[in-house]
């Protein structure tokens, strides 16, 4: 299917979009917070992939290659309009002192999404790739083009901050500080 798309078969590319949309849309949703904006960036990632298909070295590498394109599309947007991808702390509601109801998936999703938006762009992308996509540090380094040490520290620091924000006590302490 990838080889067909590389040869210019548009319907094969449409099939690739159908199969890979879940990964790219989910990645953008985690990174953006704003669903409509995430959808737009996911579309942009696929359009970029279509333009660059000729540069794909091996059809088997399509998934990681597409993910790297999606990450780059997001990073470019983060550099171009950082305010659009951040949420000021003042806009965040106080978390429920009891913590999110484990049964309430929507609430957990919202809390995680808000906490992710508070992370700096490099930390956010590294944490999402590690925790949501299950990539190793080395794979993240390949997808982002950053040094391995930078990736490791971004994952560690980002995860620590997420844990602190997602725990109601930690969040209150941070706001007080």
């Amino acid at each position: 299917m990838v080889a067909l798309a590389v040869s210019g078969d548009h319907s094969a590319f449409a099939e690739l979009v159908r199969r890979r949309q879940g990964m790219v849309r989910e990645l953008m949703r985690r990174l953006c917070g704003d669903r409509a904006f995430a959808e737009d960036l996911a579309q942009q990632a696929f359009v970029q992939a279509w333009r660059q298909l000729g540069r794909l070295r091996s059809p088997g590498a399509f998934g990681p290659w597409l993910r790297a394109i999606a990450v780059n599309v997001w990073l470019q947007e983060a550099r171009r309009a950082p305010a659009r991808l951040e949420t000021p702390d003042s806009d965040l509601p106080e978390p429920d002192p009891e913590g999110p109801d484990p049964a309430d998936l929507a609430a957990a999703r919202l809390d995680l999404s808000r906490a992710l938006l508070r992370l700096k762009a490099p930390e956010r992308v590294c944490v999402v790739l590690a925790y949501a996509e299950g990539l190793s540090h080395r794979e993240i380094a390949e997808a982002t083009g950053w040094p391995l040490g930078t990736v490791k520290s971004n994952v560690t620091r980002g995860a620590e901050r997420l844990r602190a924000w997602l725990s109601p006590q930690g969040d209150r302490d941070e706001r007080r500080a």
Binding site: A108, G134, V155, A159
Partner: protein, 110 residues
């Protein structure tokens, strides 16, 4: 997969995962890529036409210069004798053949 990841956060990410899949998204992407493909093919077609036109123009200019230079030689031949007339006609036929060949090349180029 990293073994050193926080298991609690890992569970949270896993439990809040979504895997959106719908045809509307596929259509939106393919509409954009189709538009790009159309614009690309038009641009490529226009570039090929332009290159062909420029090539033909250059060739016509060269032929024109050659004919202009050879007119001084051909004109006396045409007026001098029957052999001269035949030579002139031969040159004209050769010119037509060249033109026909160019037309064939143009068709093949498209």
């Amino acid at each position: 997969m990293n073994d050193e990841l926080d298991p609690g956060l890992r569970r949270l990410f896993a439990s809040t995962a979504e895997h959106p899949a719908d045809e509307a998204f596929v259509s939106a992407v393919t509409t954009r890529t189709s538009r790009e493909r159309l614009i690309g093919s038009i641009a490529r077609g226009m570039a090929a036409q332009l290159a062909f036109t420029l090539g033909l123009g250059a060739l016509a200019a060269v032929v024109g210069v050659v004919l202009d230079q050879s007119a001084k030689m051909i004109a006396p031949l045409l007026n001098a004798s029957l052999l001269g007339l035949a030579t002139g006609l031969g040159l004209a036929v050769a010119g037509l053949v060249c033109f026909r060949l160019l037309a064939l090349l143009a068709t093949a180029g498209r």
